[in-house]
């Protein structure tokens, strides 16, 4: 086991260095874009713990992000018993609220497996946006809630976008380490045992209810933190900020990143952001192929590109980016170090 540790540690160090230095080389606007990638990354880490390591499918993580986002908005705009909270302190609370919601969803999930769980969580994703519309007094209805623009604290001399970048990626790295420690430890082994065979796991004395709801709770905590950061970065929340399709995009990112590859989630997150906002660029690339002329600004292009990428990745590369890297790396090390 010890020999397997150093590649992950060095990968983490490399990521940390890149994250710390990147804003020096890119524009303020790019820093904002990268911050949003970081938020998707956090949400995907949570989804990876749930789906990749525990084997439970969720098509409703957009709803947990929304819960986090709304918690932050309500606490910092309306306050808690009239006492408004600073946006920074609402982040852990948002995570906890979403995490508790996750535990609650995790209880019925115990009796539902595979496809049924996918259906129910999909239902959650679809029906959640109805709640803010119905209870508009509390959630602000379709107009939503407007937050104060995020300001760097302690008189730090950075721009808002750079501040959000460092905040997001700082939290992301902490949560990455936490996720890594979790999946390597006793809990993680229990998660994986349940994923591989529930019957075998129970026979080995692992409590299914405890670990399956725990996985849901932790995973929703991650999504809640991501949603909270998303609300802070956008400075407003409404039902359209967390659309139904967001849950689907998260699953896309998870699949592309490679289900149980924590580092792979960075690739997944980048892809979600890129395809959502730069699908017209992809359409221009495709136009270089002979006999094709797509109008990059045509509606529907993002969905088409998303769909094709998703299908191609799942058919050709079922283990995602993480699996590919692992395979290449495995090839390299086995050639170098095995005596045959």
């Amino acid at each position: 086991m010890r020999a397997r540790l150093w590649p992950e540690l060095s990968a983490f160090a490399a990521v940390a260095v890149v994250v710390a230095l990147l804003p020096r080389f890119v524009s303020d606007f790019r820093a904002r874009e990268l911050a949003i990638v970081g938020m998707y990354f956090i949400a995907l880490l949570g989804l990876s713990i749930l789906t990749g390591f525990n084997g439970q499918i969720s098509l409703g993580h957009g709803a947990f992000m929304a819960i986090g986002g709304y918690t932050t908005a309500i606490l910092s705009v309306d306050g808690f018993f009239g006492h408004q909270l600073r946006d920074l302190w609402t982040i852990p609370i948002a995570g906890l609220v979403a995490g508790i919601a996750g535990l609650v969803v995790g209880i019925p999930a115990l009796r539902l497996s595979g496809l049924y769980l996918a259906l129910i969580t999909f239902g959650i994703a679809v029906s959640f946006p109805q709640l803010p519309k119905e209870f508009d007094h509390f959630f602000g209805g379709t107009t939503g809630k407007i937050l104060d623009l995020a300001k760097p604290p302690f008189g730090l001399g950075t721009t808002t976008n750079n501040w959000i970048y460092y905040l997001t990626w700082g939290i992301a790295l902490v949560l990455l380490v936490a996720a890594w420690l979790l999946v390597r430890g006793k809990t993680g082994r229990a998660f994986k045992a349940i994923r591989d065979s529930e019957v075998a796991a129970v026979s080995a004395g692992i409590s299914l209810p405890r670990y399956k709801t725990l996985a849901f709770g932790i995973s929703a905590f991650y999504a809640g933190v991501a949603g909270s950061l998303y609300a802070i970065a956008n400075a407003y929340v409404n039902p359209d900020v967390f659309p139904i399709i967001l849950s689907v995009y998260l699953v896309v990112g998870l699949a592309v990143g490679g289900l149980d590859s924590l580092f792979g989630m960075i690739a997944g997150a980048a892809l979600i952001y890129f395809l959502q906002n730069h699908a017209d660029t992809v359409a221009r690339w495709i136009n270089h192929l002979p006999a094709l002329s797509l109008d990059p600004k045509q509606p529907g292009i993002p969905s088409v590109v998303f769909g094709i990428v998703l299908i191609v990745v799942m058919v050709l590369l079922p283990t995602g980016a993480g699996g590919l890297v692992r395979k290449l790396f495995g090839l390299l090390t086995s050639r170098l170090y095995t005596r045959s």
């Binding site: 499918i57 496809l115 679809v126 029906s127 993002p302 088409v304 769909g307 990428v309």
Partner: protein, 300 residues
């Protein structure tokens, strides 16, 4: 006030509306069940597939064809399309985990939705169905001919399917392939083609459902998205592998949701979807197999 004012005539009207609503869910739920039965896959693209074929029907009718002239052409296209999707997309990942297949059908849904926006553009379209919207009087309750037509069509579909699965060689082969692939292969059933056939039939059912729904709601690329969720709920309610269950579940769900929306002021029109979700959640906890489904017992 929790309960709105109540009259029997209005109740009957709401009931009729609920049954119509339910018959719509049932059509799509049938398609979901057929695919689930034959391939153990839930097709998240079923709604977009149905809408896509309905758009094809719309285009054909725009070219001057009558509904009944376009109908068989659309069904043929749907069948071919369904078989092609199974062959090209699903077959390579046949033995992959559930999640992989779910993700592929999600990708297919996104792709088809985008293609529809590209080809036909957004915006609502009027779709003229085969039935008139004239209302007739049924026991003192005004019901539109269209509503009756939709209900009759979905009942007809389930009878036809029942006949097909019980009395034809191909239908029996499909059931055999779903129950035990290896044994059916030994008995000479071409299992691969049976699965493709399942997708083809489901696409046809979806096309029929789409063409029944489009006159009621307007035709646009996202027409089926909420209906698909209700259809999932209906299929789960009836037990995922029972066609009769899909229709009963659909109508039960339609009636419940319509009545709840009308008479429980708190639910109104916005909370119908969460209410439906809660309904199936409770049912799944009490009866994991649904109303008509078989509970599978796993051997360790």
């Amino acid at each position: 006030m929790l309960l709105a004012a109540f009259t029997w005539t209005e109740f009957a009207q709401q009931l009729a509306a609920g049954i119509r609503e339910g018959a719509i869910y049932a059509g799509l739920a049938l398609a979901i069940v057929i695919i689930y039965r034959s391939t153990r896959v839930i097709n998240f693209a079923q709604g977009e597939m149905a809408t896509f074929t309905t758009f094809i029907a719309w285009s054909l009718m725009n070219q001057g064809l009558s509904f009944w002239a376009a109908f068989p052409i659309v069904l043929a296209i749907a069948f071919t399309g369904g078989v092609a999707i199974e062959r090209v997309l699903i077959r390579p990942v046949e033995n992959a985990p559930v999640l992989t297949i779910v993700i592929i059908t999600l990708g297919l849904a996104l792709l088809l939705n985008g293609l529809m926006s590209m080809i036909w553009g957004g915006g609502n379209r009027q779709f003229h169905g085969p039935f008139s919207t004239r209302t007739i009087d049924v026991g003192g309750v005004p019901v539109s001919v269209q509503d009756i037509g939709i209900v009759v069509v979905s009942i007809l579909l389930v009878v036809l399917l029942g006949f097909f699965f019980r009395f034809t060689k191909v239908g029996l082969g499909m059931r055999a392939a779903a129950v035990n692939r290896d044994s059916s292969r030994l008995a000479g059933v071409r299992v691969g083609w049976m699965l493709a056939l399942g997708w083809g039939i489901a696409a046809v059912l979806g096309a029929v459902a789409g063409m029944m729904i489009a006159p009621v709601v307007f035709l646009d690329p996202n027409m089926m998205q909420t209906i698909l969720l209700y259809a999932f709920a209906a299929a789960v309610l009836g037990g995922l592998d029972s066609p009769v269950g899909a229709v009963v579940g659909g109508i039960l769900l339609g009636v419940t949701i319509t009545l709840l929306g009308r008479y429980v002021g708190f639910i109104g029109s916005t909370l119908k979807l969460p209410a439906a979700l809660l309904l199936i959640l409770v049912l799944l906890l009490l009866r994991p197999g649904g109303l008509f489904g078989r509970v599978t017992v796993r051997r360790v």
